[in-house]
């Protein structure tokens, strides 16, 4: 059952991911990306990480992508036809690079001795299996577990991210300032 859901969702995610890249219309790309985010959320649920799943939807699908849509709408760019002399060369090059990379990753992951995973007929990389093991024992995915880890082991990174956000806000205010007249 879980395996069926996983396979279906993973297939949708991959298809949506491909469609996102292959679309010319930026709006469609953004929407397919949202589909990918939802598929990821479902996979998090399968892993027992409810909190992460919900946050994935709320933050990525609900907030970030809406802002992206905003930008696309406000710019409302008539996307210029890309220059075929440049793209003609780059497209096969990019495709080759992507396929090579995918094969390389597949090779690297296939050579991985997996631990027995909760999904029948699959094996998970060590790290993921480890995380799953902890799900069982401490009900990870519970907000409490996430919070305790965040404020104990990852306290310093957590606080540092606040500086990162402050820097980002500063940057936004710099960019939003009216440009002085071009000299």
């Amino acid at each position: 059952m879980e395996f069926l859901i996983f396979s279906a969702v993973a297939a949708i995610a991959i298809a949506a991911g491909l469609l996102m890249v292959l679309q010319r219309n930026a709006m469609y790309s953004a929407l397919f990306l949202v589909v990918v985010f939802f598929c990821l959320a479902v996979i998090y649920i399968l892993l027992g990480a409810y909190f992460l799943a919900v946050v994935q939807v709320a933050v990525y699908a609900g907030a970030i992508m809406v802002l992206m849509l905003f930008v696309i709408m406000l710019l409302n760019v008539a996307w210029p036809e890309p220059d075929d002399r440049v793209l003609g060369l780059l497209r096969p090059l990019g495709a080759t690079a992507a396929v090579t990379f995918a094969m390389l990753m597949a090779w690297a992951l296939a050579g991985t001795p997996g631990l027995p995973s909760p999904l029948p007929g699959t094996s998970l990389p060590v790290g993921a299996a480890m995380t799953l093991g902890r799900v069982g024992e401490a009900q990870a995915g519970h907000v409490q577990e996430v919070a305790v880890t965040l404020f104990s082991k990852y306290l310093l990174p957590f606080e540092l991210v606040s500086i990162l956000l402050l820097a980002a806000i500063l940057g936004a205010s710099v960019l939003a300032r009216k440009r002085p007249d071009h000299a």
């Binding site: 709006m27 409810y50 919900v54 946050v55 939807v57 699908a61 609900g62 809406v66 905003f70 709408m73």
Partner: protein, 361 residues
């Protein structure tokens, strides 16, 4: 039920749970849509009374068949899609607005968990340990409906309306979330059932946990009105400026889906406000004898109805805000107030043991 069809007990439990959940979901969705229909009627009647007129009173006794007549009219009305519009997204948008609105209700606990003739019975479809976040996340997905409707219509009024609406919803989500966090911090849980239970057990709804609970409640309700794009925050469909906002180019059934989404969202916001701040089925005790327990949902529905009346009342009373005032209210008033309020709450919760409130009694 062991051994039936060769399936073991656990599988049967799962299948049974799925069937129960499906039935409940069916009932809730239809209930919401029915509530929507009569909400439109009562809105028109109440507005009518407030403006010293009668409201609809022709279809059936006291006009109670009016929603059905409206529904039939909308379903058979011509469905116009502008020629330059993006056909698929134009179709997708109303679905994206309505579906999230309908599925939020799954996690709302209408009444206490009880036993009917020895069989456990719950008044919610699912009890999730991150229920509030689920509701907030799904609600934020509903924005897509508005944004895409504005964009796909290929009309400047729709586009501007969509932009306004989504900017407004995103902005007020922050204040709303922070206000809700106040209740969550008080309860120490994101589980809506647990939040209600704590209020019922302590004898007071969080809105009466002075001063922070009341402030959070007020902020939550104001932000909720804005979230629902209702007057006085209904700038997205300010007919004087924008035609009808993001759904200018919609008609027929697709338009009525937006209409439904708006009202169902109002119901959701009311339900969440009742859960977070008014104690859900409070003052019915969670572990009362069965018959009294069954009054829980009734109390809950009464609270929702009061909120709905308030929505109508506001619409009849208050003039629309200007857009920049609306944004500065959200960002410069509600957000800081909610933030300070949350910090205050967190301080109290940290200093006094969980479940006690120094200024409550």
């Amino acid at each position: 039920m062991n051994g039936i069809f060769g399936l073991d007990g656990r599988t049967w439990d799962i299948i049974l749970a799925i069937i129960t959940a499906s039935i409940k979901a069916f009932v809730i969705v239809n209930g919401l849509l029915l509530a929507f229909a009569y909400m439109t009627l009562s809105e028109r009647k109440v507005l009518g009374r407030m403006q010293a007129r009668y409201g609809p009173n022709r279809a059936g006794p006291w006009g109670i068949l009016q929603p059905i007549a409206d529904g039939i009219k909308l379903a058979f009305k011509e469905d116009v899609t502008p020629r330059q519009a993006n056909r698929w997204i134009h179709l997708l948008a109303p679905c994206l607005a309505l579906v999230p609105a309908l599925i939020i209700f799954a996690v709302i606990p209408l009444g206490p968990e009880m036993e009917v003739f020895g069989v456990p019975w719950t008044w919610h479809v699912a009890r999730v340990n991150v229920a509030y976040l689920y509701a907030a996340a799904i609600a934020s997905v509903g924005v897509y409906g508005i944004v895409l409707a504005g964009w796909a219509s290929n009309s400047k009024y729709a586009l501007l309306g969509g932009l306004r609406a989504s900017a407004q919803v995103i902005s007020y989500e922050l204040a709303q979330g922070l206000a809700a966090m106040t209740a969550i911090v008080m309860a120490g849980s994101l589980d809506l059932y647990e939040i209600v239970n704590q209020q019922v057990a302590s004898g007071l709804p969080y809105a009466l946990y002075l001063p922070f609970g009341l402030v959070a409640f007020v902020v939550y309700v104001i932000a909720g009105v804005a979230e629902a794009n209702r007057a006085p925050f209904d700038l997205a469909e300010a007919e004087g400026e924008l035609g009808a906002g993001f759904h200018t180019e919609y008609s027929g059934f697709k338009w009525s889906m937006f209409f439904m989404a708006e009202y169902v969202n109002m119901i959701n916001i009311s339900a969440l406000a009742s859960v977070l701040f008014l104690g859900g089925w409070w003052p019915i005790p969670t572990d009362a004898p069965g018959v009294v327990q069954a009054l829980g949902p009734v109390v809950f529905l009464v609270k929702i109805a009061l909120f709905m009346f308030m929505f109508i009342w506001l619409r009849a009373t208050l003039p629309r805000l200007r857009f920049d005032r609306l944004m500065s209210l959200g960002w410069k008033v509600l957000l800081p107030v909610a933030l300070v309020n949350l910090i205050g709450t967190a301080t109290v919760v940290a200093l006094w043991p969980l479940g006690t409130w120094p200024f409550a009694n």
